[in-house]
């Protein structure tokens, strides 16, 4: 019973502590508020930068670290207020054609960036900003899909000369077709089955009326909901990008909601305007060579310049479904379904243009500000909306295309991306704001101040108490506690968790509870000493006997943490994450790190007495 750790265990402890120190280090380097400048079609030059710095100096806004890197310019500021003023000044100075975005420029040393050591991001409650919870109107999405189906079915029945009494959408998931006789109904039924694999049908008779009820299965509705929310999320991501916010958060919550968090944004109204814009999708043909330059628009697509005819062959609202799938030979493809009218229109155009390239253009409405200076020097900001158009697909028409066609020759990621983009233009459903929170930056600063004060005081009191009560052993527990906090911060930084106010209190609570494992071990050692064991024997028996208690007690707390994580949203989730990681790290530090230190101090030699406080 010499209480010595094998070398590898000691090395493990040293290694873990070292890694924890390195990976928590980036949190010591706070980001600088910065403004990033770019130009529509040329690089930012030193000349532009000079103009910016001159203007900033003239308005006596202090700045530093201005640089040009890879065609974009960056100017750093010492606080958020200067950053906002700086952005306005830069926008005025440079005029149209330039884009400015608020940014957080890292100050982390290069070698830390090189090993991918990042920092925890601050939650909205700590830095201010807006939080929206948007609900996607799934019923509207379903309704639209079924309306498309109704119009297609009508077209099919007409072309096959099947007479129906009526055909209508009774509710968002029920199409009812009524026929005069059994024969027409069964004909219609087999046609619908052929064309709509996803529609389930039920037949019903009422006197002379033979009706056919069509609806989507629950699984198909679920799939539709999944596609719709993904489409809406893509749309929001694109729009948030145009806001120029650093570190925005766009996340799905539950089955039909999307959380949008925009740190630093204070103008809620503008953010809302942008989030509610609708994107549109248009299908074009490639311009014929030698066509007059007024008849086409040039887009950049995968590094190439493509001339796209201005004639629209199909509007995006004719698209009824989009999905990425694999073809028979396992190659990725994007499958697009059109409604009846769209299908007819499309087959006519494509039949005449086999071998031509077809282009899909996604347009989104965005806003930008322009500044005009009146004669009296008064600067007014005018917000104008403009359309941003992107070419998202460029493919050859191989055959006459009908209601369902595929785009091939893509990689799996490309196929997924393309189907998402098409969906965001064609399938995005209306969204409503169901939650809105705005936090001023001063409140965030106040929360940080109070949070850190509470952490320091709580931590300090625990440290003092432990040394007072357990002497050297208490000191060892304190070192373990410090390692615990270091580990906790390192892990949270590695998974780039968001630090919220409840998260900070999660850390505080962990500090209070983490000593529990050490207290369990130390009281056990005292007991063993009191029952007459030698100091070395007592250390060994104390650690061993407390082990299963510690595991049992912590596993139950961990289980509760998992429940907390799964029901919680936002700040509560942050609290749960801290709690769970903290439980894991505190078990490691209390059992392994403490033992390593105790072994280092007392192990491997004759010891008469342990400095663990009174035990008799």
């Amino acid at each position: 019973m010499l209480n010595k750790f094998p070398l590898w265990k000691n090395l493990l402890v040293v290694f873990v502590v070292l890694m924890a120190a390195i990976y928590s280090a980036p949190n010591l380097y706070p980001d600088d508020p910065a403004v990033q400048v770019s130009h529509e079609d040329s690089d930012i030059t030193q000349f532009d930068l000079g103009a910016i710095t001159d203007a900033l100096s003239a308005e006596s806004v202090s700045y530093f670290g201005e640089e040009v890197d890879g065609g974009t310019g960056l100017v750093r500021f010492s606080n958020l207020e200067d950053q906002l003023r700086g952005k306005a000044i830069i926008e005025q100075t440079l005029g149209n054609g330039y884009f400015t975005a608020l940014n957080l420029a890292p100050t982390t040393p290069g070698w830390l960036q090189a090993i991918n050591a990042g920092k925890m991001s601050l939650g909205l409650d700590l830095q201010g900003g807006v939080h929206f919870l948007m609900e996607v109107d799934m019923d509207a999405a379903l309704q639209r899909r079924m309306e498309n189906n109704v119009s297609t079915i009508r077209q099919i029945l007409r072309s096959e000369r099947i007479r129906s009494r009526s055909l209508s959408l009774e509710n968002s998931n029920l199409i009812v077709a009524r026929f005069d006789n059994e024969e027409s109904r069964s004909e219609a039924r087999s046609l619908i089955r052929e064309n709509f694999a996803d529609l389930q049908n039920v037949t019903r008779e009422q006197g002379e009326v033979f009706s056919l009820e069509l609806s989507l299965s629950d699984a198909d509705i679920l799939q539709l909901q999944r596609d719709t929310i993904a489409a809406n999320k893509t749309t929001i991501l694109n729009r948030v990008d145009s806001l120029g916010v650093s570190e925005p958060v766009v996340q799905q919550q539950g089955s039909n909601r999307i959380v949008v968090e925009l740190p630093g944004v204070q103008d809620t109204a503008q953010a809302k305007r942008i989030l509610q814009r609708i994107a549109t999708l248009q299908f074009h043909l490639e311009a014929a060579p030698g066509a007059p330059s007024t008849s086409y628009t040039t887009y950049e697509y995968q590094g190439q310049l493509i001339d796209v005819s201005n004639d629209v062959i199909l509007q995006g609202d004719r698209v009824s479904n989009v999905r990425s799938a694999l073809d028979q030979s396992g190659l990725p493809q994007v499958v697009i379904n059109l409604d009846a009218q769209g299908g007819e229109q499309f087959s006519r155009v494509t039949r005449e243009n086999i071998g031509t390239l077809m282009d899909i253009v996604l347009s989104e409405t965005k806003t930008r500000s322009t500044f005009t200076t009146a004669a009296d020097g008064e600067v007014t900001e005018v917000q104008e909306t403009y359309e941003e158009k992107r070419l998202i697909s460029h493919a050859t028409i191989r055959a006459a295309l009908g209601r369902e066609f595929v785009i091939t020759g893509l990689s799996t990621t490309e196929a997924n991306e393309l189907s998402l983009l098409i969906r965001s233009g064609a399938l995005a459903a209306p969204m409503y704001f169901v939650e809105e929170r705005t936090l001023g930056p001063s409140l965030g600063a106040e929360n940080i101040r109070q949070g850190t004060q509470a952490v320091y005081l709580g931590f300090g009191l625990v440290l003092i108490f432990m040394v007072f009560y357990y002497r050297i052993f208490g000191l060892v527990a304190n070192v373990a506690l410090a390692v615990n906090v270091l580990l906790l911060i390192a892990i949270m930084s590695i998974i780039s968790a968001t630090l919220t106010l409840p998260g900070i209190f999660g850390i505080v609570l962990i500090v209070g509870m983490a000593v529990d494992a050490n207290v369990l071990i130390f009281t056990r050692i005292r007991e063993e000493l009191a029952s007459g064991l030698s100091p070395q024997g007592a250390i060994s028996a104390g650690f061993n006997n407390a082990f299963s208690t510690i595991v049992d007690a912590n596993v139950t707390t961990l289980l509760v943490g998992i429940v907390l994580f799964s029901i919680g949203t936002g700040p509560v989730k942050g609290f749960a994450v801290t709690l769970m990681i903290g439980i894991a790290t505190s078990m490691f530090t209390a059992i392994i790190v403490t033992r390593a230190l105790i072994n280092l101090i007392y192990g491997g030699r004759a010891v008469k007495e342990l400095s663990i406080g009174k035990y008799a």
């Binding site: 750790f5 265990k9 609900e135 809620t268 109204a269 809302k272 509610q276 409503y432 704001f433 169901v434 939650e435 809105e436 929170r437 705005t438 936090l439 001023g440 409140l443 106040e446 929360n447 109070q450 509470a454 952490v455 931590f459 625990v462 108490f465 432990m466 009560y469 106010l501 409840p502 209190f505 505080v508 609570l509 500090v511 209070g512 509870m513 000593v515 529990d516 207290v519 369990l520 009281t523 061993n544 208690t549 049992d552 007690a553 139950t556 707390t557 289980l559 509760v560 943490g561 429940v563 907390l564 799964s566 029901i567 919680g568 949203t569 509560v572 609290f575 709690l579 059992i591 392994i592």
Partner: protein
């Protein structure tokens, strides 16, 4: 510590404390039924705006301006200093806030416009929270569900690791903690928001942790002590774990109190719930969980399941 040197007959007080606990639970349930909980914005839905003034402002004045602007049900209270007010708008106020949230006008701008009396006093919105009615309802449901799921999972784990009598005793103790904490929130009209719900779950975590430590000792003593009645063995176990119980409760209370006094207004409910919960949870491990074991006639036979000898475990 002096406490260690004296053997205390905990179980002799099981009955009076048991009666006191039952009384506390009954009062709590009564209060929850009569007063219910003062639910926060997270659950009730509505709007909350914290407005900062550049000069001291009278609450009555703000209330009046809000009334004139078409928010007759706005509740205005001072928040922190006399330059900050907190305005609460119930969700069914004359103006439909959900509609407003979806219009292009920001609710905050609207309220600022309503409050600005043109005297040049600067107004800033420090915080604005709008929660739609459906969100609140769902949150309340999932929160309640979460508590039940947490209790269920704990019960199953304890039943597997210990024995069903231990599981029943542990879960009743947890119910006791949660109900009394809720009862105190209800009795004193403290606001119950999302952070308090998180605190309740943390309390469950803390309390079960405490109970397990005691149970672990009881199980160990049942296995190694040759003589003695369950009554004596539980008493011995409680005495053996007493100093740990007190120290852990104390260190945790130290940090929670730091939170309570320094953490600021927005975290107050959370800190109060934890402070109460740790006290109640510590008490319940002794006088609810352990007394119930006795009441359920726990015996040596209950723990005679063949479990491998842990004493020579290869722990570090």
């Amino acid at each position: 510590m002096a406490i260690l040197s004296r053997q205390f007959d905990f179980m002799s007080l099981a009955k009076p404390f048991g009666i006191a606990s039952i009384a506390a639970v009954v009062i709590s349930i009564g209060s929850l039924l009569i007063n219910s909980l003062e639910l926060g914005l997270d659950f009730t839905a509505g709007t909350l705006v914290e407005v900062g003034y550049s000069q001291p402002v009278a609450v009555g004045e703000v209330t009046e301006r809000m009334r004139v602007a078409g928010y007759p049900n706005a509740q205005v209270v001072a928040f922190g200093s006399d330059q900050d007010v907190l305005i609460r708008l119930p969700v069914d106020d004359t103006v439909s806030q959900e509609e407003m949230a979806n219009s292009l006008v920001s609710l905050g701008d609207d309220i600022l416009a309503a409050l600005d009396d043109g005297s040049g006093v600067e107004l800033t919105i420090n915080r604005l929270e709008f929660v739609g009615p459906r969100v609140g309802e769902e949150l309340a449901e999932s929160g309640g569900m979460g508590l039940l799921v947490a209790l269920g999972i704990v019960m199953i784990y304890v039943a597997i690791r210990f024995q069903s009598k231990f599981a029943i005793a542990a879960v009743i103790a947890l119910f006791h903690d949660v109900i009394i904490t809720l009862g105190i929130f209800s009795l004193f009209g403290l606001q119950f928001d999302l952070t308090v719900l998180a605190a309740l779950l943390a309390i469950i975590g803390y309390s079960i942790n405490d109970t397990i430590v005691v149970f672990d000792r009881i199980r160990e003593n049942f296995r190694i002590m040759r003589k003695g009645t369950p009554y004596e063995m539980i008493n011995v176990s409680l005495n053996q774990t007493l100093s740990r119980t007190i120290i852990t409760a104390m260190t945790t209370q130290l940090v929670v109190c730091a939170m309570l006094f320094l953490g600021g207004e927005s975290i107050q409910g959370f800190a109060i719930a934890l402070t109460l919960g740790i006290l109640i949870g510590t008490y319940s491990s002794v006088y609810i969980a352990s007394s119930l074991l006795l009441y359920l006639n726990v015996s040596k036979e209950d723990l005679m399941v063949p479990i491998k000898d842990n004493s020579q475990d290869s722990t570090p």
